[in-house]
Symmetry: C2
Subunit: 487 residues, 2 copies
């Protein structure tokens, strides 16, 4: 295997792990990944589970075009500012070839440049204009699973890629309050999903004006802390106000015959979640996947050599697998002959399979199997006849334990600081999430970022204290915010 | 509703039907569609069922980047010729804005132009070069679900779009025979799927040199005939020979220490299949969906007005739905009050729901329900207690009946002709699939196309006769081929 997967990444461990575990690898196109079967399978698990929750809350799936006219992207004046420096611009609908070289040709030049969607607000609000006839009732609740391009200047493997796979929701409401509530409702849906399914504890909050989504009134966010103490924006939900409805002149008709600009929300998660899984739960042996999202929850490996023992083994494995299948437990029986058990143990360690069952001759004779938990690396012999009860318990316990470990890490990295010298010192050494007072001024925010490279990752929903003094300016502050270096 | 969905399409009925039934609508970007929930749900059904079959035959899902370097696309000299006139060229990674206008800027100009994938051979064979180390065993069997852009000069709603959703398989083999067999195996898999699940009868064959995929040695294909007598290429499977392995210098290592260029295949189906469903099974009332692919198989509508009757009704409907759910029959109970039953009947006619169950007071008193089959528009009263047996029978029968109707149509449109005058006459009037002799020469093929607008849609696998004389040149011909006008 070739582990030197990517030149532009400094964190060799992280990159190697992603390649070794066969999640993804870099491609020839800068910042764009090849998702391998194991990585794509995790994404599909996320997609299926989240899609169910999104549909359950009344949203329907659409697929809007990949290309947006640059004129449309330019309609919402703040929106365009967020994307024009980092987007893929399509200028031609073909080209010429001369002496085996690609030649641009005026013949193929487009009248209006097109942009590969960096997000789909512009194309969706464009369509809405036609849809909002007098017979349409609000809200309209849309969802889309798509691929998007944002030309990252500093791409980071799975955390910040130029192309990534995205879930993006877009909704249109007849009142400000309803839209605002909806964006918070979705934030809570994401929180539940990420904490319960991915076992990643998150902090709920909102972005400062500097950090919010281009085109939003408010950006609500979920932030997590990674193994290296840096923060990761893991999901966002935007309250768009009437910004897009006004820019695209979208109106809905009221009962009294008048019309009004509706309020909007948009919200999304992406394949960055896979990067978050890797960078939250791994250890020096490899990935550790939460059972609820693991493509393989249990792997069975035999260490039996004699032929007569093998027949007993095969019978036993068959019985176990039938039971797992009934319980919808995803099990893989690795009976490849060309690999030694030790090689297999290593492979499943790297891939983060939650439970490994090893069956040997001695164990069978005693009616036992050996069960290895990937999360705490503890081995245990259990009686074969108790497997049904115990496996369900272990899967639940591992899911929970992984979450608690991550929560412990988050708490370890979380500090409350009031002294700017100490604050700067922390960001020179361990990093982490620092609760500190801030006066609400852009100038202070920028200066702190210049001094420490840390930004305000969010204004948290729950805070420990109220009034105080800005850690930088000493001006009055209404609440603590969270500073961190982030991806 | 707005039915005038698209300006560039001449077939108003077809376009209106797609918009009315809420499958898709046109977008502002020429040739690109917005897939609405109903259309996308059909695609997801196709995707899930086909994905299962593709995985079952040993293929794994990958996701390769959207963008291909133009230099890579240019490596296989025939491949590039198929796409350079109709592709989306990305030339910049950002732009400037001045006086609210988009301005191109040299600062953002890419060193190498990128192309939005029109198909993924180039990017996949590029990756393979790295993968085929000495420890890798062939075959490698890849699959991808993606979106692609081919800049159609004459886009046609759902049949020929600039952006469409695609399933594309790519495989690499150590022998010519294995690759060739694999491409035929997949063609048969597609045939089974399209005939059994989509109820569309197809003809198996291969393309002429003029019509084959750019970069393939042989293009095997499935062709169907639409309601208007035109042909549609519904699936293709390409035997790529060593064309890509040689162009991309991909080699596999043999046991004896030498290396060799492997053989390749690629094959795909797309959202065009939804267009095929519409244009094969519809009637003047709307779509007719085969039960196996219909997002809703049965709709229940009540025509009860009195409140006391409604309670009995609700109980009955609940019972029926519990049974359907158990049997995994997709049922929708339309209890919207604001719409009259007649309005609903019309809506589900357009949407092509296979079975409509109507429940009225009279029926309940007699222990009956009214069952309406969308395919033959026949109504029947059946006893409530026999519903369990009958519904399964009806769903199967409808699936089969739709196929037979399409087969009848195909046969009606199929003719064997030996006289060129008559041949030309047919393509001036009814059209259809014409079996005629052809001498294998490009010149004859082109002249016939010029005279009639009909092309050779395929050299069929099964033919009715052997030697004869070319319908155009009168030269000796080895077998009949199929001529048709096509989309």
């Amino acid at each position: 295997m070739n582990f030197s997967c990517n030149k532009y990444l400094s964190n060799k461990w992280f990159n190697d792990l992603i390649c070794k575990s066969n999640l993804a690898e870099s491609s020839k196109i800068r910042g764009c990944l090849i998702f391998k079967p194991y990585g794509l399978e995790i994404w599909n698990k996320i997609k299926n589970k989240l899609n169910y929750l999104i549909k359950k809350t009344g949203h329907e799936n659409y697929y809007f075009p990949l290309l947006i006219s640059s004129a449309d992207l330019n309609k919402e004046s703040n929106h365009i500012k967020g994307f024009f420096r980092e987007c893929a611009l399509v200028t031609h609908s073909g080209f010429n070839i001369k002496n085996n070289k690609i030649l641009l040709d005026r013949k193929y030049k487009l009248k209006t440049e097109l942009i590969i969607r960096p997000t789909s607000e512009a194309i969706i609000w464009n369509a809405l204009k036609k849809w909002l006839t007098s017979s349409i009732k609000l809200p309209i609740l849309l969802n889309q699973w798509s691929n998007i391009i944002r030309w990252e200047l500093r791409p980071r493997f799975l955390l910040r890629n130029s192309e990534f796979l995205l879930q993006e929701g877009h909704t249109i409401h007849s009142s400000k309050q309803e839209a605002l509530s909806h964006s918070i409702k979705i934030l809570n849906l994401y929180k539940d999903f990420i904490e319960k399914i991915l076992s990643i504890p998150v902090i709920k909050g909102k972005k400062t004006k500097t950090e919010k989504f281009a085109g939003a009134n408010t950006t609500f966010c979920l932030e997590s802390v990674l193994l290296d103490g840096k923060a990761l924006q893991i999901a966002t939900s935007h309250f768009l106000g009437q910004n897009f409805s006004k820019s695209f002149d979208v109106k809905y008709y009221k009962k009294n015959g008048t019309y009004k600009h509706p309020w909007g929300t948009s919200w999304g998660i992406s394949t960055r979640l896979i990067g978050a899984l890797v960078f939250t739960h791994s250890d020096k042996y490899g990935l550790i996947l939460p059972p609820k999202i693991a493509p393989i929850q249990i792997v069975i490996i035999s260490i039996i050599k004699k032929l007569e023992d093998k027949q007993i083994l095969e019978k036993l494995v068959k019985k176990i697998r039938v039971f797992f299948k009934k319980k919808q437990i995803r099990c893989f029986y690795d009976n490849r002959k060309q690999y030694h058990p030790g090689w297999k143990f290593n492979e499943y360690d790297i891939k983060g399979i939650p439970i490994r069952i090893t069956i040997g001759k001695n164990e069978i004779q005693k009616g036992l199997i050996e069960l290895f938990r990937r999360d705490n690396r503890k081995k245990k012999h259990i009686k074969i006849r108790t497997i049904k009860k115990k496996i369900t318990y272990f899967l639940k316990n591992i899911q929970n334990n992984i979450f608690l470990k991550a929560l412990f890490l988050k708490n370890k990295f979380t500090k409350t600081i009031d002294d700017y010298k100490k604050f700067k010192q922390i960001f020179r050494s361990s990093g982490g999430l620092i609760y500190a007072h801030w006066d609400g001024m852009k100038e202070s925010e920028n200066q702190i970022k210049e001094d420490t490279s840390a930004s305000i990752i969010c204004i948290p929903s729950k805070t420990k204290s109220n009034f105080g003094h800005c850690i930088y300016s000493k001006n009055l502050s209404k609440q603590r915010v969270i500073f961190a270096k982030c991806y």
